[in-house]
């Protein structure tokens, strides 16, 4: 029984990572109504880039945490400006298929450059140590994951609901033509949203590296989980993503402890139940 607190902490750490991945996804989906299939591929790029930066170049975890999001921000901006915007007129289908194709290209290119095998990434500095909480010795890094997710969630909520930038963002979503008429460069706003969402995926990738190690199938694995988080939490809802990530993190963690064979199915079961009871998700608005 003494395992329970440990598994609870494991669940929290995974929930933190899940939230970091799905926050960018749900932001792009909620703001731009684009379901970004390439999101997990970007996350994979972040993870592999962090391998190069930490293990080969600088030896500093913090450097990766700083540089990767910046690089992915630029990639995201370019993708939005030169690809996504051009197919916007074709509607959802065009956008979905485009990001879908991009996901394949990016994943393949990553495998090409970094090789088709797992690479271990180590955290550096005090993060690699352990801490004693209520008598349990636990890696600091997993705690750090949880708190960085809390930090990111808090910053996003503050920007969205407490700043002028947040007002512009929400106005652009509500009525992009009117906002444009009022002198806001709406296409630039959307480019920024997509780039920021992609940067978040890169951030999540850096975080995931030391936890799960980087491997070629990491994108597909997290993509489905992140999609389930969005479905359960409610499409485009930040609060929903937080609650759903916490739920699924614990479900995964205790599922492995109690019924290892079915742990994968438990998550889908939760999704099916939510869909039957409330099709729009726990915090989703009725469409």
């Amino acid at each position: 029984m003494s395992d329970i607190p440990v598994f609870f902490l494991h669940g929290l750490a995974y929930a933190g990572l899940l939230f970091l991945v799905s926050a960018g996804l749900t932001l792009i989906f909620g703001m731009m109504n684009v379901l970004n299939f390439a999101h997990a591929a970007m996350y994979m790029v972040g993870a592999y880039l962090s391998y190069t930066i930490i293990m080969q170049l600088t030896g500093q975890f913090w450097m990766a945490l700083l540089i990767c999001p910046i690089i992915l921000f630029i990639i995201g901006a370019l993708v939005e400006r030169f690809l996504l915007r051009r197919v916007h007129a074709q509607g959802h289908l065009g956008e979905l298929l485009l990001t879908f194709g991009l996901a394949y290209i990016i994943t393949e290119l990553v495998k090409w450059y970094w090789g088709n095998y797992p690479l271990a990434v180590n955290v550096t500095g005090f993060l690699s140590g352990t801490i004693s909480i209520f008598g349990i010795v636990y890696p600091i890094y997993r705690i750090f994951i949880f708190f960085s997710a809390v930090l990111v969630g808090a910053v996003m909520a503050l920007i969205l609901y407490k700043t002028r930038l947040g007002i512009i963002l929400r106005a652009s979503v509500n009525d992009s033509e009117m906002t444009n008429t009022l002198g806001v460069n709406v296409p630039l706003v959307f480019m920024g949203v997509f780039a920021f969402g992609t940067a978040l995926s890169g951030f999540a990738g850096v975080i995931a590296g030391p936890l799960l190690s980087t491997f070629p199938g990491m994108a597909q694995e997290i993509l489905i989980d992140a999609f389930v988080v969005i479905v359960v939490g409610g499409f485009g809802s930040l609060g929903g993503a937080i609650v759903a990530a916490l739920l699924i993190g614990q479900l995964q963690s205790f599922g492995v402890l109690l019924i290892p064979k079915l742990s994968m199915a438990l998550v889908y079961l939760l999704m099916a139940i939510v869909l039957v009871i409330k099709p729009s998700g726990l915090f989703g608005e009725e469409s």
Partner: protein, 334 residues
């Protein structure tokens, strides 16, 4: 109807050509052709969803794989089961799955629907992987094709040529039936719902029921293709139910073009031949697949059949498509 006669002619010509193919082709290419015929039905069923109803599903392989696995499991666990009963069983299980999944998922549209179908495809895949005692997990299941019982006589199907003819006949009939479906009142309702759902509701159509019927129908047809997929390879693995199998059909249909009934069949030809050729020279097939997706979305959103229709129109000055306008115009005039 001009457009009807062209479609019938295309199908008849293809079918006749198919009958003579075993005489001309070698074993290797006949194998490939059988695969093309099976995937043609799979692609046609997917196009009914994507092209006709405008529903982007990422879960079509769930039905394809279900049909494929039910076939293998039935042949292994029910000794002496006849070919027809296997087909019936595969068909019935996909109808059942279609009704349940459709009831759950069709409440959403657009991106939501795409996302949910993907998640459920992943669920099917997870079940197939983990339920080792039934599905064989990563190892897959090997079977032997049962013989064909025609009542008065029994034909062995172990040879490729005889199996090819059976496939051609059944897949051909199913494809013709799908084509017929698009010309029934039900098929037209689906197209009109894509164009203007609110108006169809005002006119008294129950759009939810129509969509559920279509979803179940396309799922069952995909399941039938899955049944023959297992027959053909005499083996089924978890790849039959994977998201990659959905991606494959999406690419086939998209390359062929969703605006015509025969476009996806063209797409299957291009896809299977191209993939066979490419996988001989490179193992970076997904990279090319991704590039084709992106380039086609950017430059050729209408697919190959779109290009052909444009050329046709340029030279003969007539438009021949199944698109919303023509169908909607027909319905709206009286």
């Amino acid at each position: 109807m001009k457009q009807k006669s062209i479609s019938i002619m295309t199908i008849v010509v293809l079918f006749l050509a198919g009958i003579f193919m075993p005489v001309i082709l070698k074993q290797y290419h006949l194998n490939m052709l059988t695969e093309i015929v099976i995937f043609s039905l799979y692609a046609v069923s997917y196009n009914l969803l994507l092209g006709y109803a405008g529903l982007l599903s990422f879960g079509h392989a769930a039905f394809f794989g279900l049909g494929a696995f039910v076939t293998a499991v039935a042949i292994i666990h029910i000794p002496g089961i006849s070919l027809w009963n296997v087909i019936l069983l595969g068909f019935a299980s996909t109808v059942f799955a279609g009704l349940i999944l459709g009831g759950l998922l069709l409440r959403h549209k657009g991106s939501y629907f795409a996302l949910l179908t993907l998640a459920f495809n992943a669920l099917f895949y997870a079940v197939a992987t983990k339920w080792h005692s039934v599905t064989g997990g990563d190892d897959g299941l090997s079977i032997t094709r049962p013989d064909l019982n025609l009542g008065f006589t029994t034909l062995p199907l172990s040879g490729l040529t005889s199996f090819y003819y059976l496939t051609l006949a059944i897949m051909g009939v199913a494809i013709v039936f799908c084509w017929y479906f698009t010309h029934t009142a039900m098929g037209k309702t689906v197209v009109l719902m894509r164009e203007n759902e609110d108006r169809m509701k005002f006119l008294g159509y129950n759009t939810n029921i129509s969509r559920l019927i279509l979803f179940t129908f396309t799922g069952a047809v995909a399941g039938l293709a899955g049944v023959f997929y297992t027959f053909h390879f005499q083996f089924v693995s978890i790849s039959a139910v994977s998201v990659d199998m959905t991606t494959a059909v999406l690419l086939m249909v998209f390359v062929g073009g969703t605006k015509t009934f025969w476009g996806p069949i063209l797409g299957v030809f291009v896809y299977v031949i191209f993939q066979n050729y490419l996988s001989n020279i490179t193992d970076r097939w997904p990279l090319f697949m991704g590039l084709i997706f992106v380039l086609m979305v950017l430059y050729v959103p209408g697919g190959l059949s779109g290009i052909i229709m444009d050329l046709w129109q340029r030279f003969f000055g007539k438009k021949d498509n199944n698109g919303g306008e023509s169908a909607a115009a027909e319905e709206a005039t009286p």
